[in-house]
């Protein structure tokens, strides 16, 4: 700790900066006094690090001086802004631009013996990590994963050996800590090869726990993870929190589909009727909503309870059960079994397709399995869509 200059105090940078500010405002000496008296009344620990044109991130608490320069110390508590934006991102709003500047950060009172935790620069990941680190002194090395979480980025190759080695060097990590150890989240192992990191940087990769909330226990236990820390889960909450994005992704294609539904619903004995487009269109729109809710919400939520391993079939089962009460409600507006069956088929197909889509969001599906499923069910879904459209037009006559 004593080796880090000015750790916990910002005396030296303040002096430096005062010189600069005097230099800057030399032309108007009166301004000098105002600036000085102002800063004396309201001490701002971040003032020395403010730069024109830059905005201080709300999660930065202060800066500390190290042998490798000033390092921001971040807060472990999430602010109101963080919670609001977490909500937005979970709903799929501005999800692709939710990033933290990659590089080295600190939390608590890190010193030369503190652990180095590696993470991704998706702000949701970053926030999730820091809120678990209350009362922990550590360094946090944020890799440039283009705003993608650790596991996905490891799979796509941005959370990688080369990026980790690059950041270790760019941040002069060997000047920050006396040891040669970095803790990489276990799910990063898909992209990070420990022995190559050692070869290229001298740092030894320790596989950290999968979940950030296990980090305190992991550190207390001398960097040993127990079995549970090493296995992924997919609990009800973990599934639920993904559903808003699933629905958000579907919104645009759903809008286009709805438009098509209203047009198709207009075909009838008089070639095209606007009143029929509106009435029958509205009914088919309900069938669309039923399919979306079933495939993108009900199926993910009830995933372990719906029979079958195949997601497409899970979607068919959930869609069938879910669309029956809905159809019963709207059946009074439909004359004939053909129309009802068309709507049923349509809901079930949408549900099956969206459920299959959810394989991409889970923590346990294999690409080979998904490929097998798609080869089997996409033709079925397409055929079902064609039949239901045909039946729906036929039922208008």
């Amino acid at each position: 700790m004593d080796k880090i200059e000015g750790c916990g105090s910002n005396e030296s940078p303040k002096k430096k900066n005062l010189k600069i500010s005097t230099f800057d405002v030399n032309i108007m000496s009166s301004m000098d006094e105002i600036a000085l008296s102002g800063s004396a009344e309201l001490p701002n620990p971040l003032a020395d690090y403010e730069k024109p044109g830059y905005k201080m991130c709300s999660y930065v608490d202060k800066f500390i001086q190290t042998d490798a320069g000033a390092i921001p110390i971040i807060k472990s508590k999430l602010g109101k802004d963080d919670l609001f934006s977490t909500f937005y991102v979970r709903c799929g709003i501005k999800r692709n631009k939710y990033i933290v500047v990659p590089g080295l950060y600190g939390i608590g009172k890190p010193d030369k013996n503190s652990e180095v935790l590696v993470t991704a620069n998706f702000k949701l990941t970053f926030d999730h990590l820091r809120k678990q680190l209350d009362d922990i002194n550590a360094w946090i090395l944020v890799l440039d994963t283009k705003g993608i979480n650790v596991w996905c980025a490891a799979g796509k190759g941005t959370f990688s050996t080369l990026e980790l080695v690059r950041k270790i060097k760019d941040c002069n990590l060997e000047k920050i800590v006396d040891h040669k150890r970095i803790i990489v989240p276990q799910l990063g192992a898909t992209g990070v090869a420990a022995r190559d990191v050692k070869k290229l940087s001298g740092f030894r990769v320790v596989d950290g726990p999968i979940r950030a909330n296990d980090i305190p226990a992991f550190l207390k236990n001398k960097r040993q993870a127990d079995k549970n820390m090493r296995q992924v889960t997919f609990s009800l909450y973990e599934r639920f929190i993904l559903t808003p994005v699933e629905i958000q992704i579907v919104l645009k294609p759903a809008l286009i589909t709805a438009l098509a539904l209203f047009i198709i619903s207009g075909f009838g004995p008089g070639i095209f009727s606007f009143s029929s487009a509106w009435e029958r269109g509205t009914i088919s729109f309900f069938a669309l909503i039923t399919g979306i809710v079933s495939g993108a919400f009900v199926t993910p939520m009830l995933l372990p309870f719906i029979p079958s391993r195949e997601f497409a079939l899970k979607g068919i089962i959930a869609g069938s059960i879910f669309s029956i009460p809905v159809l019963l409600i709207i059946s009074s507006a439909i004359s004939g079994a053909a129309g009802l069956f068309a709507l049923f088929l349509f809901s079930v197909t949408i549900s099956s397709y969206l459920a299959m889509n959810f394989t991409g969001a889970t923590s346990f599906t294999s690409p080979s399995g998904v490929e097998k499923e798609m080869k089997r069910y996409i033709p079925v879904q397409l055929a079902s869509l064609v039949i239901s459209t045909g039946l729906w037009i036929y039922s208008a006559f």
Binding site: G155, T190, R230, V232, F234, F364, G369, E371, K372
Partner: protein, 72 residues
């Protein structure tokens, strides 16, 4: 994961026990507990839990493991 399982018999995971040097890294990085060490060699104890993430392949020092999913 025991409660949620995907389609059986699809994974392209292959372990060559001859090449295994018993470092046990695969048991550490696998998020699905597919491997277990027995007599200083890695063993596949839950083949159908494999999701082909490639963490074991990437970290195996003796190229004893492979997965080769198609483009998906």
């Amino acid at each position: 994961m025991k409660e949620l399982r995907y389609i059986d018999d699809v994974s392209t995971l292959v372990l060559d026990k001859e090449k295994c040097i018993g470092c046990s890294l695969c048991t550490q990085v696998c998020p699905q507990a597919v491997f277990e060490m027995r007599d200083n060699k890695a063993n596949i104890i839950d083949f159908n839990a494999c999701m082909e993430c490639g963490a074991c392949v990437n970290n195996c020092p003796s190229e004893a493991i492979s997965v080769s999913p198609g483009v998906g």
